[in-house]
Amino acid sequence: MTLRRFGGTIEAAKGTAVNRWARTLDATTRAHGAALLAYATVLTGDERAAAAMVEDALVATFGSGRAPETPDDALAAVRRRVQRAAVRRTQAGWDAEPADASSTGEALRTLTARERALLVMRYRDGLAVPAIAAAAGLHERAVREGLESAVERIVAARPEAGLSVEDALAGGLLETSDVEVGP
């Protein structure tokens, strides 16, 4: 019995192996890059931070263990990492003092990074507190505190925004798998 021959050095072999995950990575960014960047931007309110977060999430997803085999698998993994990073982010220049805001966009800028990310997951993704906690890797108590604080800040800066702490804490879906990302 003659064994099959394979050419190339180990370096070359790493190249071919890399190409496999690289193809999936490229396919993921082609198919979902815009949606992921959009989602990270909404979570952070900051385009640069969003790009850094997506990059880090791609590295974490493809850089160790068995890389996802399809763009859809990768999307879920990257998205989850972006969520987790968003609630742990610190940002420079944050003003803790709520101020009058002429728009909800301005009111959002009064939130801490975690508050903002939690608010997005609650209202844009439509998730309930337990689902947010599971997705973000936080205790439910931390999610409730963050949401409560976020809503209070928004209401303080923009009373007409129509938010309430009760709705923030009681509403939303428990499932996280069907949530869409993207604009």
Binding site: G8, A34, Y39, V54, E55, V59, T90, L119, G162
Partner: protein, 502 residues
């Protein structure tokens, strides 16, 4: 629900998504990600231990440049965040002596002092190579912790390897310019003891303690370096696998078994290098963070094929035993169990224990033929293995390698070169890495569904590049993996080594 809020978020999402079309996102996000992934996976693929994954979270907006240069050593960031990251020189001023056994709310640190020209992180001094320094005073910095170790896990693999995963958080109020790649992870059994100089390699150490005296610590320097900025509250994740071979060569050679039996808690200590301001000089600062915890996982009883193995040394010959390599790689470093079957061909050449299997020869090389192609300068070596026993042998016919040692008189560990290819061509002056270990070869290819009957043969061919003729004085041997009942376990592999004696 607020329509106003939803509209505002939708506008931002649209803006973020539009970035993908209007900005050089491929250069800024995808390309750097690809480079970082390639590096992490390359390290894993060749079985390198050390920091295998580095994931930044919580990086502030200002840490990213659209040109993808966020990993520059000293990036000039024309952004809204002008806060400079603290470097070693900023922290070296507020130090006080730390004594073994002392506790404090201050940040534990180790400072190594080097002679001019001896800093291995200066490019011109690269040949200094990785060195363990034992004269590094232990210090306290400031009044509170700058970093903390969190989410640490220590998991014992079935084959006796140990996997450590951890997360280091910047708990200070300032950005830190850290160098995780140049840092060391230590797995310790008695972290407050004083020990003789330990050995570290590739950023990892396993043993008793890092204390060299009541006031000095050991630290490893050299190798790769990759300073990055870590914002307050942000963290990076690291992981390292201590293979069974590394563990057995340490002064804590029974550590996996003791962790497995619950006899011992594990202490993980990270010595995090803080990047200097400018070119590395005569001082290096490492911030230290430790966590003590119980390990999980257990060493599982090994397959019977590993029973009764005896050590083999260079030049030793025996007629009453089969030469073999015992490769304790850890399942996550074994391409056969780590990579899917349909993945591209992947090979690694781990360090394996050279052993004898008592009971006589199991295989012999019945032929070895050479064919040289002068045009392409390739040396094709064809071989035939024959079952020399009266019993069927369970072998993996796809997992073979041909070892070529061009100057076998070279002392173990002193080979001037080494090369391996995916087809299993492994060569060097000598493939002995120490008096007890040799280069092996593992691949993700496997075909273990048959047996080699008594007298049965197995043929193979390997091609070495860059040869006009078989090297004078070279020796050859074929490796083939032993198929086992517990093949799903990739922690450990047994490779029969069959030398050409013609």
């Amino acid at each position: 629900m607020s329509n106003e809020l939803m509209e505002s978020l939708a506008r931002q999402a649209e803006s973020g998504g539009a970035l993908y079309d209007t900005r050089p996102v491929d250069d800024a996000v995808v390309a750097p990600a690809r480079r970082r992934v390639r590096r992490a996976r390359t390290m894993r693929a060749v079985g390198t231990v050390g920091v295998t994954a580095l994931v930044l979270a919580g990086v502030t907006a200002a840490a990213l440049q659209w040109d993808g240069g966020r990993h520059h050593v000293a990036p000039a960031l024309p952004t809204q965040d002008a806060t400079p990251a603290l470097r070693a020189d900023d922290l070296l001023h507020g130090m006080s002596t730390r004594v073994r056994g002392e506790t404090s709310t201050a940040q534990a640190a180790t400072v190594c002092y080097l002679a001019d020209g001896k800093n291995p992180w200066v490019e011109d001094n690269y040949k200094v190579s990785t060195t363990v320094f034992d004269n590094c005073p232990a210090m306290w910095i400031g009044t509170s912790h700058l970093i903390e170790l969190e989410s640490t896990t220590v998991v014992v693999g079935g084959g006796g390897s140990i996997r450590v995963e951890y997360l280091v958080t910047n708990t200070s109020s300032d950005p830190l310019m850290i160098d995780p790649v140049g840092s060391t992870v230590a797995l310790l059994t008695a972290p407050d003891a004083v020990v003789t100089l330990p050995s570290t390699a590739d950023g990892q150490y396993v043993g008793t303690s890092l204390w060299q005296s009541d006031t000095t610590r050991s630290a490893e320097m050299g190798g790769d370096s990759g300073p990055i900025r870590l914002e307050p509250g942000a963290h990076y994740e690291g992981a390292t696998t201590y293979t069974a071979q590394v563990l057995r060569g340490s002064d804590a050679n029974d550590i996996a078994q003791r962790f497995s039996a619950g006899e011992l808690d594990a202490t993980v200590t990270v010595q995090l290098r803080i990047a200097p301001d400018g070119t590395p000089g005569t001082r290096e600062l490492f911030l230290e963070a430790s966590e003590t915890l119980a390990a999980s996982g257990t060493v599982t009883p090994s397959s019977w094929v590993f029973d009764g193995l005896e050590p083999r040394t260079p030049g030793e010959t025996r007629d009453d035993a089969q030469a073999a390599l015992d490769c304790r790689v850890g399942g996550d470093q074994n391409p056969r169990t780590q990579e899917p079957l349909d993945a591209d061909t992947l090979g690694t050449s781990p360090t394996c224990d050279a052993v004898w299997i008592p009971g006589g020869k199991e295989l012999r090389l019945s032929s070895l033929d050479f064919a040289v192609n002068g045009t392409s300068r390739t040396l094709e070596v064809s071989w035939t293995l024959e079952n020399a026993t009266a019993a069927a042998l369970s072998l993996d016919r796809a997992s073979t390698a041909l070892l070529m040692e061009t100057d076998p008189s070279t002392p173990a560990g002193e080979s001037t070169w080494f090369q391996a290819d995916t087809a299993g061509g492994v060569s060097g002056d000598t493939l002995w890495q120490s008096h007890t270990t040799r280069h092996g070869f593992l691949t993700n290819l496997t075909a273990a569904d048959g047996q080699l009957m008594p007298g049965g043969t197995l043929e193979g061919t390997h091609t070495f590049e860059g040869y006009d003729a078989p090297p004078d004085g070279a020796t050859y041997s074929v490796l083939i993996r032993v198929a086992r009942d517990d093949d799903a376990n990739g922690d450990r592999e047994l490779l029969l080594e069959v030398p050409w004696e013609g």
